[in-house]
Amino acid sequence: MKYSYFPGCSLKGLGRAYEESLLPVMKHLGVELQEIEDWNCCGATAYMAVDEAKACVLAARNLALAEQQGDRPIMAPCAACYLVLNKTKHYFHDYPAMKDTIDRALGAVGLRYSGNTPVRHPLDVLINDVGLEAIKQKVRKSLKGLKIATYYGCQLVRPYATFDNQYNPTTMDRLVETLGATVVRYPLKTKCCGGSLTGTVPEAGIRLVYILLNEARKRGADCLATACPLCQFNLDAYHAQVRAEYGPVLVPTVYFTQLMGLAFGLPERDLGLNRAAIPFKWRPTEAPPAKVAAAA
């Protein structure tokens, strides 16, 4: 299984821990990731607000580079990138005018985009390409006893995701259950984390963060599992502001890839667990010695 890997800006910055855990986990599962050479910012939501055409052009450059560097599906772990790249692909097909613009802009730097390369999210790949069975095989330290609120956030499943239900996604649930953890019913799993508003309109953003954390706590979750760097950042980094507003709600938020790493028994230092502001202290118990003996 080979994929062109599009990290996106966040995974090099705020979401570093996501990349740090994603890469070893994928490697461990025999999924080859080829980072797109000289990729650029996907355009993201902010740029959409400035100029849709330009945003699409930015995204298209990455799609074109990926095609140029090998006929592989693209894997975009950041929900925002995943959405923008897919949106661009849709617009490219649905609106001739947009196609012309993109062709024109790419032409200016000697690139071409066919519009065929699929853009996929790690969850999609793990469930549909790798398969839960294969993942189960790799579990060394079961996450038994860990209660998780799976938090998908918004842009991962809306509006373009085809691999899961928009209203009640379940891929991450099934995944962490395979790792041995228990999923608590969390009706906010696709609600918005406030996105960039936490920084720009704190009173609104912080409230959303609080609601998400507080509901997770009320439902007895030990942590939230997320698949988006911005979600993780908002839920983790603003605890001070949340405390100031509403009192402390210290539910840690981890990337689902970090949980996989733990379950696979990969070395902790490789999983970027140290990067969280609200530390995630829970650890799986060692596999029963009998197994070890058998293995030896």
Binding site: N165, Y167, N168, P187, L188, I211, E215, K218
Partner: protein, 670 residues
Amino acid sequence: MMKQQANGEIRIGFYICHCGHNIAAMVDCPDVAKYVEKLPGVALSRDYKYMCSDPGQELIQKDIREFKLNRVVVASCSPLLHEHTFRGATEAGGLNPFFFHMVNIREHDSWVHTDRKEATEKAKALARAAIERVAYHQALEVKRVPIHPDVLVVGGGIAGIHAAMTLANAGKKVFLVEREPSIGGHMAKFDKTFPTLDCAACILTPKMSAVGAHANITLWSYSEVTKVDGYVGNFTVTVKRKPRYVNEDLCTGCQECIANCVYKEPKFADEFNEGLGKRKPIYISFPQATPQVVLIDPEVCLNFKRGTLTDKCKKTCVEACGEKKAIDFKQMEEIKEIKVGTIIVATGFQTFDAKRIPQYGYGIYPNVYTSLEVERLVNASGPTGGEVMLRDGRHPKAIGIIHCVGSRDKKTNRWCSRVCCMYSLKLAHLLKEHTEAEIFNFYIDMRTPGKSYEEFYDKLLEEGVHFIRGRVGEVTDWAMTPEEEGKLVLRVEDTLAGFVRRIPVDMVVLATGLEPQADAQAVRRMFNMSCGSEGFFLERHPKLAPVNTFTDGIYLAGACQGPRDIPDTVAQAGAAAAEAMVLIDKGYMEQEPNTAYVLQEECSGCKSCIPLCPYTAITFDEVKEKASINEALCKGCGTCVASCPSGSIAQRLFEDDEVFSEIKGVLAYE
């Protein structure tokens, strides 16, 4: 050309209709008339405001006599609308009605084009085609098919019941086929009916028992139509009668067997009560069920589960039945074949599956109900005896009723289901009556068209029910505030107040919409009908033939044709019955003489046409070694004509000459 000469001198009268502005606005009618005037064979050419009006038709008749016309062409609306009218006029003028041909320049021209010049050119081309064609027309005789006097009514809801009763009371023999163990349909499940609030049972059950007792009605419940052959006046219908393991003629409905079933307590989900109640393996759908005959559910009856051979079950029901000997575990499925002349399809609707909108939490939160479930909940004969008790045993203090669930939504069903607003108002009233709870109605638009419906809305407003104009975003159980704890919370914009609200309630009622039955497509095929884009059966004309289908002798009644309430359904059922009676009392049906015939001298006897005919109208004459067509059986599709390698089959009204000249005509115009 031969035939045309054979027809002698051709004198065509051409008439183009303005249809007020409908045609004249986009087509230059006088100009078309002028163009046609010069065409060969045209004796006179006129434009006129309304050809279908009496003066218009008289004009045709007058001209036929004065100008010795022997062909008539009218360019106006669709032949499906007025061909009949003008054939009549032609005949009244003393000509064979089939010397007439019609040109459609309204539906196919003036209404669909925007450029007057182009539309006029098209009208000329189409007119010319008709002129070329009509010259070849032959005098034809109309075919008459006798109508079998018996009627089949499919579906025993209020529509089927009313249609059957109307016909039976008029002395017609009716077969009423119902899929469920009892007739009554959805209406039997309702508690009260809007806007008068008279109880559904009180007005329906008398009709039901009347059906059961009527000498002219053969009632087959727990049965399904599986096959329909033949054509108007002469259908052969196959009906499957499912085994109820109880002999209908012997069972008196005493229900001793139920009382004595080995299961002391009912423990199986009860379909009639939407699964809110329980029944035994041997049961009767509901107290007033018609026919009053019990049935056995082999899925759960011990006698079947443990195998009839190893007699483990005590068969207490058989003992209880005693001398009547009505219970028959060996009963088999029965196949009946009946002959009828006309068919009324009244197969009804199904309610929208609320699970398809997960945001509303049906199937996730136990206190989210569908409207049909609530109908049973407030019903005195329902599972709770009319006490509104939630699945968790509590009594609701606040209730939210969400309108338009599975209606007016492009992602589920686009159409307005027409009855939800009114039945939601009714349920609001009944729930208020039963619970004194605070009640919120969430609607997009309040639709109360109908006699004293708006007044009913006023009544509810006076009763202090809250009406919030806004489509609920979601139903959830996560609390923002203390008073929301343990409640279902509806998040909605109060669009009239202009802000978003969170409203905690104990019970949510989903006003699910009406949609076509799951098997509507199969049924449609079986009866050779069409479906509209939303899947309801298609009427022949939305205004002028609302109960007819495109297949003669098959009529529609009730919600299978589109969402409608009880008054409209009953009215339509009456109309369908009347349409059927028109044929029956007339005794025959006139049919287009568009049958195919073999040109004996040219037939090479290759037999390739014989397997093509779906009506086995073509046989092979072994003596003459030629095919021959039984025109009584021929429906006039013309498939054999097009397929005959030696071109030795022809079709009346669609002779090759006629079609070729029409082609020549549409293309000749420059």
